[in-house]
């Protein structure tokens, strides 16, 4: 079967007309990955050889090939492999490192960033890459109101304006801002799009088309030979519901330390498998090379690995994102009801009692098969800004963690002190004014979330809180959360390395401040300080200074218990031993079934 695969790949290669011949020699500005070089993060990796096919499985079909319109990971898995940004977040360190720009300078006042682009690079069709492509991407796509992209959202400066992009020459790009905005660097990792291939769809540049045309370009039905990119692979074949096949880009500009052009694999196939169980069967059947392991798969895969020749990587690194219980501090506010309940919910001591009732260890053991980590901060643990570290990017020590350890006795004591006691002798605690206190916990139909809620319900009931748990439809759940009509809701949010996205959650007037929307009109001192810290965090390029602001914000948020953080899954995956360098991975590259592999550095050991 593998022979047949190679044959099919050769057939595909033969049919490619759009690809150029590749570089005659390594470009002077090529990106060199220091594989095997002592003192680097790549020290223990092996040099590979070119050739072979890497097969992975994705759960959903891509929605298109248009990078700016792409939103979910089933699409960005491919667009992020076909395109590159000015800078990128290093998968191993999380730091911002050069990509299409070989270096950049930040002016004294922090208002101007000058990028120096790599010279002599070409797009996959052989066209030169220049600053015109960068200007096209930012001025004509990202900052163009006609285009449905959320890349624009990350570029809004604190004063509401946008950065101004200009290019003094073919290989220099200048970004000017009205105020200092540190996260702009992260935002500039946005993929650069090919001007020569896409400008025909932009109404601003081509008066013959209507304003929305770009949004409907590079859709799934396009001729794939027209795709142009800068990344390691280009999509050459798409079979709906079956597979996406990518071939190496002959003009990819990254090389290993021995001078071999990357990626090592010639072909990268993504099988589209709609069901996780089938995905695992296909892995066990040797049809795919890697698999993103769920906690429940471990007992099956671990014993089978040695015989079948695959490894199961179990790490203690939590994935990005948060999971929490949201206690609605505005409950009944709009209707003018439940005043006594709202008053109790707004008391931080009461929320502390609720936090002390979250049995994180049992949740990890029973729901996640032990493959989880407790969480306390709004910022994901892999982020260099995570306050469980002592300094920016430092090791996780948790010396500053704001834990609320599981302690039902302490919780009961707090409740007693607050007067939340059983006044009428029915066995359930009542509100201080004697009204009955009934708590409803909601989440959607999801085994893991349901598991968390059942454990929590039991713990609340054990201290005499009359809690009931009810599963509701996902959209209803979101409606209750964002409509401020829920009671206690269990859900989670996505996260990343850059803490500034948290402003859209913890900023007192933000749309996801779902635990207390009224904070916008009536902010507490804590709310105001959090707002201030998020502003300060973006106003300096000094990462240690920014770290200090975010550390204080994390501490305040964790102690304010708006969202009460719980546990997070850790990162697991499995791979066949013949995939070289597969033991190096990072949750940074996990989303969308990449299974964490640094796929362009993997190679086939059997070649």
């Amino acid at each position: 079967m593998r022979n047949a695969l190679v044959l099919a790949s050769l057939l595909l290669l033969g049919s490619l007309v759009a690809f150029g011949q590749g570089y005659a020699e390594m470009p002077a500005d090529a990106k060199i990955i220091p594989i095997g070089e002592a003192g680097t993060l790549y020290e223990t990796m092996e040099l590979g050889v070119q050739g072979g096919t890497l097969t992975i499985a994705n759960i959903e079909d891509p929605r298109g090939w248009n990078d700016q319109i792409a939103k979910e990971t089933s699409t960005t898995y491919f667009t992020n492999r076909m395109l590159r940004g000015l800078v990128t977040l290093d998968h191993l360190s999380g730091a911002i490192v050069p990509e299409l720009a070989k270096s950049w300078d930040i002016s004294e006042d922090g208002l101007t960033i000058t990028f120096h682009l790599r010279q002599g690079l070409k797009w996959s069709d052989g066209t030169d890459f220049t600053s015109a492509d960068v200007l096209f991407t930012f001025n004509d796509l990202v900052l163009n109101e006609d285009i449905d992209t959320d890349s624009r959202d990350g570029l809004v400066l604190p004063d509401g304006s946008y950065p101004v992009f200009s290019a003094p020459d073919d290989y220099t790009v200048v970004v000017e801002m009205s105020v200092v905005f540190r996260p702009v660097l992260t935002q500039l990792s946005t993929n650069i799009n090919p001007k020569h291939a896409l400008e025909q769809y932009v109404a601003k540049l081509n008066p013959d088309v209507t304003p929305g045309t770009f949004n409907e370009s590079w859709t799934l039905d396009m001729d794939l030979a027209d795709l142009v990119g800068m990344g390691p692979w280009m999509v050459v074949d798409y079979q709906p519901n079956v597979s996406v096949t990518m071939e190496r880009n002959p003009y990819y500009y990254a090389y290993d330390s021995a001078g071999t052009q990357l990626p090592y694999y010639d072909t990268h196939v993504s099988a589209i498998v709609a069901n996780q169980n089938v995905s695992m069967l296909k892995f066990r059947n040797g049809e795919v090379d890697t698999y993103g392991v769920r906690p429940e798969d471990i007992p099956i895969l671990l014993p089978e690995g040695p015989a079948k020749g695959f490894e199961v990587m179990i790490t203690d690194l939590p994935l990005y994102g948060t999971t929490w219980f949201c206690v609605n501090q505005d409950i009944g506010l709009a209707e003018g009801t439940l005043n006594a309940k709202r008053e109790v919910y707004r008391n931080v001591k009461f929320r502390e009692a609720l936090a002390h009732l979250i049995d994180k260890q049992t949740m990890i053991t029973n729901v996640l098969n032990g493959l989880g980590a407790p969480q306390w901060s709004p910022i994901s643990m892999p982020s260099p800004f995570y306050a469980g570290r002592d300094y920016y990017g430092g090791p996780v020590t948790e010396t500053n963690a704001a834990w609320f350890e599981y302690d039902p006795a302490k919780a009961a004591g707090i409740l007693d002190d607050l007067g939340v006691v059983d006044a009428d002798g029915d066995g359930w605690r009542d509100l201080p004014n004697g009204e009955a206190l009934a708590i409803e916990i909601n989440t959607n139909d999801n085994t893991v979330r349901t598991g968390y809620c059942l454990i929590y319900q039991d713990d609340l009931r054990n201290v005499g809180l009359n809690a009931t748990f009810q599963v509701v439809d996902f959209n209803t759940l979101v409606g209750r959360l964002l409509g401020s009509s829920g009671d206690i809701i269990q859900l989670g949010l996505t996260g990343g390395d850059e803490p500034n996205s948290g402003r859209n959650v913890y900023g007192s007037c933000s749309g996801l401040h779902a635990y207390r929307y009224s904070a916008c009109d009536d902010p507490t001192e804590v709310d105001l300080r959090i707002d201030e810290l998020y502003s300060l965090g973006t106003s300096t390029f000094d990462l240690d200074e920014a770290f200090a602001y975010y550390a204080e914000a994390q501490d305040l948020i964790a102690r304010d218990l708006g969202y009460i953080y719980m546990v997070n899954r850790t990162f697991q995956y499995a791979y066949y031993e013949y995939v070289g360098n597969a033991q190096f991975s990072s949750p940074t590259s996990t989303p969308g079934g990449a299974n964490g592999l640094l796929s362009e550095l993997c190679f086939d050991k059997r070649l």
Partner: protein
């Protein structure tokens, strides 16, 4: 007959209109919309959400949205664009060879089901209450009662974990190995398709077979009890001729009618199997649209399935008139 056919076909138009209104209402009653997930994304601002809401017209009253949807279909034949893929809905539903594959899977399963169900039904009837009849009936009901998704998973599990087909280079799921999809037709490809299709036929086929077997068995038993069969036997005809030439011919009529009704069921009913067995069918793209609340695609998919159902009904009526000379529509 011709006027009847024309009249029946014309009736489909108001029916489809009513179906579309009902479907549209149901979709709108569902909590949330296409942008629900985006609302939970900290990276997306309120302004962007608002722009999207306006672009998709989600801020307009329900009846206005329905009116625009209907108007575009009637005046321009435009069923709308998918929110998700930004393609016209028919491409979102049918891209690639989804439609031919769906028809292939449905028809081949249908034919196989009949090929097996009719003889088994006849055998079962002629061996009434014998152990073989009980065994066949039991197996038939087993196939009917096991949920398709579970049966499909068990089959795949057996192949991979018990029989280790991977060691022989055989893959599971799909209609063929991935690399054959784009490849030209060859003998190898056909063999490969046969290897991949048998679990599909078994899973989808067994679920429909029990009913047909019971129906064939019941009809034939009824017919065999009729006086004309006794007459035939009394004339000294061979039992084979009595059963096949005289009884089966009359007993099979209702099965022909059911043929038309089975068609829509095979298309819509195999969605779950298609997901587990990874089949590139219209059902898969329709299911994806449902999950994402991609309304234009859901609406188009519902209309497509309704049309299939109506055509199936129509065919059933025509077939009945054709096979049974006693039936006349005027």
């Amino acid at each position: 007959m011709l006027t009847y056919m024309i009249r029946r076909t014309l009736y489909m138009i108001p029916l489809l209109l009513i179906v579309s209104l009902f479907s549209f209402t149901l979709i709108k009653i569902m909590p949330g919309d296409f942008l629900t997930l985006a609302r939970l994304n900290p990276l997306i601002t309120e302004e962007t959400l608002q722009t999207q809401i306006e672009r998709f017209g989600l801020d307009k009253p329900f009846i206005v949205q329905y009116w625009f949807w209907l108007k575009n279909i009637v005046t321009r034949g435009d069923f709308g664009m998918s929110y998700e893929t930004r393609m016209p809905v028919y491409k979102s539903l049918f891209l690639g060879n989804r439609l031919p594959w769906t028809v292939f899977i449905a028809l081949s399963t249908l034919i196989l089901t009949y090929i097996f169900a009719i003889p088994i039904g006849i055998y079962s009837a002629t061996h009434q209450y014998k152990p073989s009849d009980h065994i066949i009936t039991f197996l038939g009901f087993l196939g009917l009662s096991i949920p398709n998704f579970f049966f499909a998973l068990v089959l795949l599990w057996l192949l991979v974990v018990v029989f280790h087909v991977g060691d022989y280079g055989l893959s599971v799921g799909n209609i063929m190995d991935m690399h054959y999809y784009g490849a030209p037709w060859s003998w190898d490809k056909i063999v490969n398709i046969l290897w991949h299709m048998w679990p599909v036929w078994v899973v989808i086929g067994t679920s429909g077979m029990a009913g047909l077997i019971r129906l064939m068995r019941g009809n034939l038993l009824d017919t065999l009890a009729l006086p004309y069969v006794t007459t035939a036997r009394a004339k000294g005809l061979k039992e084979r001729i009595v059963v096949y030439k005289h009884a089966v011919r009359n007993a099979i009529n209702p099965l022909v009618t059911i043929l038309g009704l089975t068609l829509p069921n095979l298309v819509a009913g195999s969605i779950v199997t298609a997901i587990v067995l990874n089949l590139p069918t219209v059902g898969r793209s329709y299911f994806a649209a449902l999950q994402r609340q991609d309304e234009p695609v859901i609406m188009a998919g519902l209309l497509f399935f309704s049309l299939f159902l109506l055509i199936g009904n129509l065919l059933a009526d025509f077939l009945l008139a054709w096979v049974d000379p006693r039936i006349r529509y005027d």
